[in-house]
Structures are given as C-alpha cells and as structure tokens.
Amino acid sequence: METQQKVPGTQSTEYWLAVADIFSQAVTGELIGMANFASLTDIIQDTEEMIEAVEHAYSERGHAIGFLAMARKYELKVNINLQGTYWKGIRESFLRWAGKKDYAACILIQEIMLESFAVSMYQEVGQAMNGEIGELFLQISQEEESHLHHSIEFLRVALEQDPKGFEQKVYEVHQDCMTILSELAGKSDARGHCGVCYGDCVKHSLHHVGLDIVSLRGHALNLYMKSLDKIGIPGEKSLQWIASLPV
C-alpha cells in the first residue's frame, strides 16, 4: 500500500507514518469494540444492562471519532479496515460466542481481553508521545480502564457460582480470542499482513515513536493476567494459558 503522509512539525517522516498506523489500529479496534457492544443488545434480557451496552458502544464510537479527529488535525491518513486479518478474527470470535447467547464469554472478550490491550497500549503510547496526541491516548486509556473494572465484579460472581465450569469457559474463550490478539501483538506476522497498517506493519517501526512491540505486548499481558486474578482464576492456570500463547 502506498501513501503520502503530510509531515508536520520537526519529527521525521518515519515517526508520522508510525503515528498514522497507530491511529489506524486504534480506530479499527474502537470500531470493533463499538460493534461488539452493539451486538450484545441481541443477547441481553435485562433492560438496564441493554442500555449500558449501548452506552458502552457509544463510548467506543466516541473514542474512534476522537482518534480520527486528532489524526485529521495532523493530516494523517487513517486506514480503517474491519476486515483486516486479525481484527476480523477477533470480531468473528466475539460473534461465535454471541451466537451461543453467552453473555459472560462476550464480556470476557470485549471487556477483559480487548480492554486489557487497549488500556495498557494506549497508556504506553500516551506516555511515549508528547503533546495533545499523547494526552488523548492517556485520556482514552483511563476511560477504557473503567470498562475493565466494571466487568470484573460480574465475572467474579459468575466464577463463584460455578468455579470449574466458568474456569473452563474462560480457558476456551482465551484460546479462541487471546491467540489472535497475541498474534496481532507478536513480533512476527503469524497470519500475514494485518491489513490495517500502511506498508510494513507498524510493530516493526514502533522505535520511531519510542516504543517497542515486546514492551507493548508485555504490559498488555501483564494487565490481562492481573484482571484474571481479580476475577479469581487460579494463578497457575492463567500462567499456563499465557505461556502457551504464540510469541
């Protein structure tokens, strides 16, 4: 994919190309989140929870719009591709569990797995980048964190009600979705080009913005494991699951 990016300020072309790709990944991820929350309305019976899911979808929409507006301000071209290899796989995984009307599994994917990655990655990006772009990522990271906390109590109760059964479910959802997320954040492109970044994948040019994929992935997995701890998944189980992920 060829592109011409306007290069504002004193940063290098490579810097802004990496920033554009980061925005592309962030906006695509937010739109996947928006679609996921919207899909939840089909399987929720409780009216208040349904309203909450719509509010969350609206919140993800707001994040996507915020990222897009900031990218446009800096004249960065954002590539939105919900059919990109990894994001499409994550959406399909969510829809499989939604098709089974498994609300807890859907919450695990959207609010634990995806949000763990969003919170930690936005935070690192925010800390690495100066000015209003960094501030925006930090602000959205904080908002996503509230989604993460919101779901933990619900999932903890579900685990207490059926420890063995729920633990097995978390494992199956982990295998289904975290494998794809782990590949998305892996050092190599296990499934080929992501279909979102321009040219080569941004994970190979993150050093231009003071980041690296090992640290981004590490922080995300760290937060994910801590979230599983808070739900009550035994540490030795989540350890084994994480150790078995593709690298």
Partner: protein
Amino acid sequence: MDFALIGHQECWENINRFMQALRGEEAKKISLDEIKEIYPWIPPRTVFRVKVTSLYSRKQIKGVYIDSFIPPDHLKPAFLRSNLHRVQEAAAYASREKAKIAALGGFTSIVLEGNILALQTDTYPVFTTGNTLTVAFICKGVERACQYKGVNPRQASLLIIGSTGDIGSGCLHYFAKKFQKILLCAQHSVSLNTQREAISSVAENVMASTNANDLIPLADIIICAASVGTPQFDLSKSRSNVIVCDAGYPKNIDFSPALNKSPYLFYGGMGRVQGGIESEPDLPKAFYQHPLPHIVHGCLLEAIVLALEERYEPYSSGRGNIRVEKIEEIYRLAQKHHIVLAPFFNAQGLLSDA
C-alpha cells in the same frame, strides 16, 4: 491454606525448562530469547500447589509456591525498586491465597532488608524470612562435612563470605567459638569492621577483609552466603583440601573444576522432606535440577516446619537476629517432622558423603 513459599528463579536455564514444561510437550518449543521477552512481564502468582506430610505426626498440610518472576539478571541494586514492588505483589498474592504463614526465599527477603513487618497485613499471612532454618542446615552441613573429611574445627580456619548478611551473621554466631580462626568477608567495610570488633570478644582469632581473594587462601572451610546476582568468587587460590558450602542463591562460586584443586564443594542450606512433597502441577522437577526428589531450600522449609507445628509467627525477621538457640530449636523441629539435612551435592551430582 497452611503456608506459602515465595521465591524466584536463580538462572535462565531453570526458567527455560520451566517455561517449556508449562507449554507442554506437544507445544512448539520457544527460544530462550523469546522466553526473555515474556517472563519479565508475568506478575507474581501461584505456580503450583503442594502437599507436605510429616512422618512424625502423619499430618498433611497444604501450601502454594508463589514465584515473584524477578528475572535473574534483575538481582542487583539497580532493580531494587521494581524488585520490591514484585515482592509486595507476591505477598499480596499469598494473602489472597489465605496462607497462614509465608516464607520469603532468596532475594525476596533481601530486598526488604529483613523488614518483613512492612508486608504484614491485619489478616493473612505471617511472614518469616526462613533464614534461621537455612542457617541451621548450613551449620549442620559444615559440621558433617568436617567430620567426614576429618577436619577438627579447633585447628581450622573458617571463612564466611557475606558475613554481615542475615545468613552469614547467623552462621558466625553459631561458629564463633568453635573454630580456631574466623575469617570475615563482606562488601561494606564499616559494617564489616563493626562485626569484627563485636565478635572479637567471643572468638579468639578474627580477620576481616572486603576482598574475598585475600582470605580464600587462608581458609580450611568456606561458607558462601553473599547476595550476588551471578557467581563471583573462584577457588583457584584456595587450599587443595578446602571444604566449601555454597549457600548463595544465586550461587556464589564460579565452579569450574578444571581450574580448581578438587575442593569438597556442596550446595548448603538445603533440606530434604522424607515424607515427600506432592506438587500440582508437577513443575518442580522441571526447574529444580537436584539429584534427588523432595530437596528444598531451608528458607522455604522453615514455613513448612512452622505450619506443621501450627506456630504462625515471624520466626525469622530483621537482619542479624539469628541466634544459636533458635537455630537449634528450628533444626530440632525440622528433624522431628523428618525434614532433614539434604545429602551433599553440587552441579556435578551427589557427593561421596551423600
């Protein structure tokens, strides 16, 4: 939960085996470089659950091993803050497991400078550094090695490397009156001189140096208990028949037999649970390369002994507080439950006295 054992791995080779075992035999092996990119991000957590049976009371107690996931190359002062945070997280994990008592193995107690009260909460668990039983196993091991090799302590010189540390000073208290000459080595000269002056009132012949190489040639017996991230001392200038107890974690001695003069070197501070230890999942065999099963570091065993005795108390705490009476007491309690001095071994396997 009766007890928790908090620890860390001493080298990447162990971690490599451990991570491959976690992935299972069917999974694709990952390289050590890839492991080094994953391991440091893992938050402290329970790695396996254990059951220990006392052959004395037939009582079975349950516990967990919690790894702090401190990478071996972070075992140095530059990482003090992050290591401290990890120990606090591991302690919180022990609390989450509702362990009644928790031992702090290896560097996890060192980063606290013995101040385990900083971890104490209103509820679970009570913390112990476990250093008293480690000292007991070191001292009893040295005595046994002397007996085996026909060394009379009254005519021999004992060198303690890391003498001002909690374990080193515990060994000094135990041996101060038993050897003809005491040689002390520690990194910081002020505390070393203070220690030398204090012990001179009890021991007749005391020498001290911050340089181990000055003292190694003078020693008949060497106890290594220094807090070092990697092996730092070599025995190329040691006496040919020297007895060496390397109780460091990570190990202190750069042990390359080709360079040395066949020392009698064993890894000290270790005990063996004769009643056996059951682990679920069975990971210890993947990362502990001991020549016999059920061998565990003394510091961790101290929590097990105290749990078997239902004595949930900070038996070892602070720095420099280990005295002979408590060494003898914890050793006697361990023996009672058939937790005994481990057979002598080193990297090459069991030794002839094993």
